[in-house]
Each structure stands twice: as structure tokens, then as C-alpha cells.
Amino acid sequence: MLTHKINRTTSEKEKMIHSPLADFIRTLYPLGKKAEQYIIQNSFHKKISRSKYLLKPGEFCSYYYYIHKGVLRAFIKEGKKEITTWINPENEITTSIRSMSRNEPSLEYIQALENSDLYAMSFESMQKMYTLFPEMNTVARMLLEEYYAASEERSYISRLPSAEKRYSHFNATRPELVNRIPLKYVASYLGMSEETLSRLRSKKSM
């Protein structure tokens, strides 16, 4: 199966008179009534429970997902090993960027690490929105800048030569994650074994 399946109920769509995705966009840029209506009509709520997959390699992702509640991570498999490529908590928008920009299937798994609430909008609806509401181009640019910086941050962290430096960078920038996700995912994101991570953490607490 190549297309990514979505569970969608019409009753849920009708119920939504207020959209957390619209609220999120409003924190970035003023949002007109009509644009808000458009978002409400063209996005839908999706729940995903802990450890379930939103996307698997080889599938096409045709949606943007706004994480309203919860945490998602992406990983690739290298033999039996899982290499975590990013971890995103709420108030982030996520997707498979390869599917979106290059129309290529995903290389990554995207998995929920908590029971999560997402709001999804298709690439197609998003494209239409740029034409209908030109101010949305500004929002898209702001988000892309933000996510490009985040991507740079990840490539920076992966190039730091020592496990200790990678950990202390993580600890300085995203300390809250250790209260929410199992440490093995943090270790895999930082490219170290769980034992090394726990050794670094006990050193820190002394």
C-alpha cells in the first residue's frame, strides 16, 4: 500500500468549530476570519496512541501534521538498530519533507511516543490556501525558517565529536524531554548507547 491511510470521521469534521491548528498559526501571524474558516474546513483531528506509527518507509505522506498534544519521533533502521532522527513535542508541525517537496516516499518511520492529538491538512489543501490567502505564504516562510534552523541544530549536534558534548548540548536545549520519553530514544537521538547516556547523566547529577 503506497498511500498513507487516514482514519477520518465526518462527524468529527462537523464538530470542529474551532481549530487548534488555526490557533497555532495565529501565534505566528494575524489570521483572517476566512482563512480560519478554510483551516477549519480543510483540516481534521487524528489521535494516535503511544508507540503506533504515523508513517513507515516506502509510504507517501500527503499531510502536514500539527502536534497539538504529545510527542512524535522519526527514526531510520540501520540493520536492527533504530537511529532516531528527530523528536518533536507539541506546537510543532511535522511531515515527511521528502514526500512533500520531492514527491518521494518516506525513508523514515514516524512514531508516537505518547498518546498524541494531531491536526492534519493535506499538501493539496495547503497549496490552495497559499493562493487563496497570500498572507499564508508568510506563515509558511516563517515556519520553514524555523524548521531549517532546527534541522541545522540536528546536523550540528550529530557532528559534535564527543558523547559528553552532545549530551550537554541536549541538556542545555531540550532538558524537558527526559521527563517525557524513555531514555533509550534520547540515547539513540544523540548517537550513543543507553549505558553511556546513563553514565553521563549520573556524572551530571553529582
Binding site: 503511544r50 508507540s51 521527563n179 517525557r180 543507553e194 549505558e195 546513563s198 547523566r201 549520573s202
Partner: protein, 187 residues
């Protein structure tokens, strides 16, 4: 216990496991090793020992449950579950509300105090994730007819639904013990 919907039972058990996982991640994995290893004020188990004790059962039951799900009996479309008398008895025994009675753990399930506390917590989290996957798979299994042997005798086999109930009630019992201990422990 009256017959009930297996979906209702499995989803309430899943919520219980979700709670144990969340507590392990937000509390236990972030405690200093000294705190995890400190014996209880009454001389009882440390928090790490409580979790290691649960892990020792998980090491037996998780493979046994997985085997049972892969070799199911009965009819997968059976949506009813009725607890067996023994399964129900074991589960009741573990309920913290029903009894504060102390049971002596079998020797091979009594962890020594010198543990690698971080590794114990990590294994516990790993096992809870696995248990949750089993609960989800069991939705497509007859949990009434499929049976799992108990750890003390391969001749006694509980219904899969009862094995889940018993195992998760036992987890809850010792999570409570570990948390009681945490309240008394100055951080």
C-alpha cells in the same frame, strides 16, 4: 467476575500499563541511582528492587504471552471474556485495595540489593512497551480460550485474559510500593 467485553477489559488494562509507563518515564528514570538503590525505611526493598522483581516476572510472562498469541486457541471473533476461578483468585490476591497482606517472593524473584538501577528502569520501560503491544494484539485473539502457563508450574494454565489481569495487578502492587517509598525519600 461476570462475563465482560474483551475490548473493554483490554483497553482498561492498556490504560493501566500506560500509567505505569508514564510514571517510569517521568519519575523513576530521572531519579539518582542512590535514591533508587536506597532500602525502604522499614528495611524492605529499594525502588530498584521493586522494579527488578517485576522485570523477573516479565521475563517469564512476556515470552509466554507472545507465544500464546502466536498459537491461539478458540475463536478470534469471541468478544466475551469470563475470568476463571483461579485467575480471578490470583488477581484478587494482588489487588492492593483488597489486601495489605505480605507475600514472600520466591527466591528466584527476590532481587539482590546491588543492582544496576538505571538498567533496571530501562528494562522495566522496555517490558511495559512490549506488554502494551501484546494487549493490542490480543484484541484479535480469543483471550478466553487461549491459555498461558503460570511461572510456578507449566501444568497450571490461566486464560490469557487472566494472565494479563494478574500480571498488571502485580505490577500495580509493586509500583505502589516503590512510590510509597519515594514519598519517604528526601530527594
Amino acid at each position: 467476575m461476570k462475563a465482560m467485553s474483551k475490548f473493554k477489559l483490554l483497553s482498561s488494562l492498556e490504560q493501566e500499563v500506560e500509567k505505569h509507563l508514564a510514571e517510569a518515564v517521568s519519575v523513576f528514570q530521572n531519579l539518582p541511582e542512590e535514591t533508587l538503590l536506597k532500602p525502604a525505611p522499614d528495611g524492605g526493598w529499594s525502588m530498584a528492587q521493586c522494579l527488578a522483581h517485576l522485570n523477573s516476572y516479565g521475563r517469564f510472562y512476556l515470552p509466554a504471552i507472545t507465544y500464546a498469541i502466536n498459537h491461539p486457541a478458540g475463536n478470534a471473533t469471541n468478544e466475551k471474556f469470563k475470568s476463571g476461578w483461579l485467575g480471578n483468585y490470583f488477581t484478587q490476591m494482588m489487588q492492593p485495595g483488597n489486601s495489605t497482606k505480605k507475600y514472600k517472593s520466591p527466591k528466584d524473584h527476590s532481587p539482590t540489593p546491588d543492582l544496576d538501577a538505571r538498567a533496571v528502569v530501562a528494562e522495566f520501560i522496555q517490558q511495559q512497551e512490549q506488554l502494551m503491544r501484546c494487549l493490542r494484539k490480543a484484541k484479535a485473539t480469543d483471550i478466553n480460550a487461549t491459555r498461558v502457563p503460570v511461572s510456578i508450574s507449566k501444568w497450571i494454565r490461566l486464560k490469557l485474559g487472566d494472565t494479563f489481569r494478574f500480571l498488571i495487578a502485580h505490577n500495580e502492587r509493586h509500583m505502589l510500593q516503590a512510590k510509597r517509598h519515594l514519598i519517604l525519600c528526601p530527594l
